[in-house]
């Protein structure tokens, strides 16, 4: 066994190249607002500019084929890019683009050659940011119950409906959407999956007022939006995977979303913040609270972070080596969700009300601790609730079933 990510000499040479390029080209004075909803327009512009610069070099979506605008690089090289970006405080992509990540993976599996050539390069080159449009008021855990419709009309489809919990602040140029194309059809056989430019007439959106909206994996999203479709006319060319085949297309990105997206294997920056805060207080002989089991709480937090790291490492290794990946994604995702709540409670016990305020003088770590208190509650739900992760785990493990359920197609 080897639990270390080691790199060849060639790969280390590549790292040097990435590092020096980033030193030269990565924007300075980055914003890292505790609440990503506070990211300024200027901060967002910098993120997108860096995205385009990376895209030009094939480093934005490094492992995708270069013929579609990807980098044609290895997983190790992608990891190097990610690690080097992390030194500058960026993720890959440097802006919230879960729709691009999941959408591109789905198009790679289900799109025609023509569709790949049409949709992928702009994502991979950072020219568009893409939102994912899944959840609706009546389709949360029961995603297959989407009520937004697409009706065929000549060479076009006409879309009507509403999607919630979408995207981020500062808009997007592209999106993909799961809709109903056969209202009378059988469950799971009545859905279709489309790419939708966000500037089409009839598309509009408005921010949702939520407890907290950011801090999903990757670059944080900021506010979530409600997106409305009113007689939006869309070319039939934008249908990916064929009419009424949308549930299988969704199987691809849902598989990824349920715990297989995190590849960075980075450490836990919150843990480091907390240890620093705690030891500083100890050194001043001033723990904020009388907390008899402080060292146990901290040890438990550390253990949780180690388990999370190892489960993601295992998943990464399983995928990289072509081994079967079944219940593993939701398991890691479940751990992340659950340990976030445990961490929130521990922080509240360790720091009392200090953990809850964003006040510039009194709050901790520029509000990052407060944001974790809210964010950990919100984090239980996106990408499938805790209950849905368990449903998938049970199916994949074959609990109470004659046969374990198969995973969604990733290739």
């Amino acid at each position: 066994m080897n639990f270390e990510l080691t790199f060849t000499t060639e790969q280390e040479a590549f790292r040097v190249e990435v590092r020096s390029w980033l030193d030269e080209n990565a924007p300075k004075e980055m914003e890292h607002p505790a609440d990503p909803g506070q990211l300024s327009a200027e901060g967002y512009r910098k993120q997108r500019q860096l995205g385009r610069d990376l895209g030009e070099k094939g480093w934005l979506y490094p492992t995708y084929p270069s013929e579609y605008g990807g980098g044609g690089l290895s997983a190790e090289e992608a990891l190097i890019i990610e690690q080097e970006l992390d030194r500058h405080g960026f993720t890959l992509p440097p802006y919230y683009d879960s729709g691009g990540k999941l959408g591109a993976a789905s198009i790679m599996v289900w799109g025609t050659e023509e569709q790949k050539r049409h949709f992928l390069p702009s994502i991979f080159r950072g020219e568009v940011r893409t939102w994912q449009l899944l959840t609706e008021p009546e389709a949360g855990s029961d995603l297959a119950n989407v009520q937004t419709t697409a009706r065929r009309d000549g060479d076009e489809y006409v879309i009507n409906g509403q999607k919630i919990y979408v995207g981020s602040t500062h808009g997007a140029e592209m999106s993909w959407i799961l809709v109903n194309t056969d209202p009378g059809g059988a469950r799971h056989q009545n859905l279709s999956w489309f790419m939708v430019p966000m500037d089409l007439p009839g598309v509009s959106w408005a921010p949702m007022d939520l407890l907290f909206a950011g801090n999903e994996r990757g670059a944080a999203s900021g506010h979530k939006q409600t997106v409305y479709f009113e007689n939006v006319r869309l070319p039939a060319f934008n249908l990916i995977g064929g009419e009424n085949n949308g549930w299988r297309v969704a199987g691809t990105h849902l598989e990824l979303e349920h715990g297989l997206m995190q590849t960075s294997l980075r450490g836990d920056s919150l843990w480091e913040r907390v240890v620093r805060l705690y030891t500083e207080a100890q050194e001043r002989c001033e723990p904020i609270m009388d907390c008899p089991d402080a060292s146990t709480l901290l040890a438990d937090m550390y253990i949780d972070s180690q388990i999370g790291r190892l489960l993601h490492m295992r998943n990464y290794w399983l995928q990289r080596t072509g081994r079967p990946v079944t219940y593993h994604g939701p398991q890691a995702y479940l751990h992340v969700k659950r340990s976030a709540l445990r961490t929130a409670k521990a922080l509240h016990k360790l720091f009392g009300p200090y953990a809850l305020t964003t006040d510039a003088d009194v709050g901790l770590e520029d509000g990052h601790v407060e944001v974790q208190q809210r964010g950990s509650i919100v984090a239980q739900h996106p990408g499938g609730t805790v209950e849905i992760q368990k449903v998938i785990m049970a199916r994949r493990l074959g609990i109470g079933r004659a046969e374990p359920q198969k995973s969604g197609r990733l290739k």
Binding site: I164, I288, G352, L356, T358, G363, G367, I377, H381, E387
Partner: protein
């Protein structure tokens, strides 16, 4: 004989309080309060006062109801259903009990009637940088100046200070012990600043050379305050019980009305278990709370242990009930307009207020001789 029912007059009080809370502290009003500058809150306070509730614990001779702690808890339980803001507890429960335990006859005669009429709002400014309930951690100083004292220091996480016009401030006297001072606000040298974030009505109070007369010092010290807090704790727990009840109702209703996979989500065992957890938490909080109230009202010698039990249980119950409710509500629950987050925020605020569960377990262990 064993009797776990409220008295008839308590039941009437409860009904009136519920009606008032439903009418005045609707979700819409409470959401508005989150961005209120104080005016709305004052008008709500006036309505509460007109029902006579601020005087619930005030002796009749000062214009109050002379009620028991259990009577006060009946009102607080209903306020918790809102969850209505904390100024009622700060004033009519913690404030009144502090005055009854620690202040002089004259101080009582001057202030209690004003509380009973709803004119005065009280906030207890005791906690400082270290958020631990201990006399020796009081660093605010009271120095003799002329006929009175000058107060200097910073009080942190003072609940409801922004809505009070009298602060009870702890400050170290020259002998090293903590004294309790009545500070009218606004007053020169007192600056009160809200602490924003995931907590409700919490304030920083800075005292910069604040001059108060001799008569501002209460005769009772930290021990008197401690015993006021001991009595106030289960009344606060009753607020958490009421809040849990409301969170339970919201969650059960949602579990039964939300259809997914063609069924009310309450048909799924995982969802049921969240609701059951809330029921178990709220019932544990309810009965430990009302037993502690009864023991205090009856002057039972082991009341303190019961108080720390209910304080630990009710804090944890409200916190976890909100978490469980969020599991059931998923996306809907985190929308501000739905109203669950009003409870979530309040559950966090009250988790540590007047001592977090770890504090109360430590006190309990001490009471049990462990």
């Amino acid at each position: 004989m064993l009797d776990l029912a409220l008295t008839q007059s308590q039941e009437m009080l409860r009904a009136a309080a519920r009606e008032m809370v439903e009418r005045e502290y609707s979700k819409e009003v409470l959401l508005q309060l989150e961005s209120d500058d104080g005016e709305l809150e004052r008008s709500l306070w006036d309505k509460t006062a007109s029902a006579g509730w601020p005087g619930i614990l005030i002796p009749a001779k000062y214009g109050g109801e002379g009620g028991s702690l259990t009577d006060a808890a009946v009102i607080l339980e209903e306020l918790g259903r809102g969850p209505a803001p904390g100024i009622f507890f700060s004033t009519a429960v913690l404030g009144v009990l502090s005055l009854l335990e620690a202040s002089s006859e004259e101080q009582q005669a001057s202030i209690l009637p004003r509380i009973a009429t709803g004119e005065a709002g009280i906030a207890l400014a005791a906690t400082e940088a270290r958020y631990v309930w201990k006399e020796e951690l009081t660093r605010t100083k009271a120095v003799r100046r002329g006929d009175g004292f000058a107060l200097n220091g910073v009080k942190l996480f003072v609940q409801d200070a922004g809505n009070a016009n009298i602060l009870i401030c702890t400050a170290t006297l020259e002998g090293g012990e903590a004294g309790l001072f009545l500070v009218d606000v606004p007053l020169s040298g007192v600056s009160i600043r809200p602490l924003p974030g995931f907590l409700s009505d919490s304030f920083e109070v800075r005292l910069d050379g604040v001059e108060v007369p001799e008569s501002a010092l209460m005769p009772g010290g930290w021990d008197a305050l401690d015993s006021a807090v001991l009595k106030a704790l289960p009344v606060l727990s009753a607020y958490q019980v009421g809040a849990c009840e409301r969170v339970f109702e919201m969650t059960l209703e949602y579990a039964n009305s939300r259809i997914q996979f063609g069924l009310p989500i309450g048909r799924f065992q995982r969802v049921q278990d969240h609701v059951i957890q809330i029921v178990n938490l709220k019932d544990a909080a309810r009965w430990t709370t009302y037993e502690a109230l009864w023991k205090l009202d009856e002057n039972k010698p082991d009341a303190a242990a019961a108080v720390h039990v209910c304080a630990a249980v009710a804090r944890e119950a409200y916190y976890q009930a909100c978490n469980a409710a969020h599991e059931v509500h998923a996306g809907l629950g985190i929308m501000r307009e739905y109203g669950l987050t009003l409870h979530t925020r309040m559950s966090r605020t009250l988790y540590h207020y007047l001592g977090d569960p770890a504090h109360h377990k430590a006190r309990l262990a001490a009471e049990l001789g462990l």
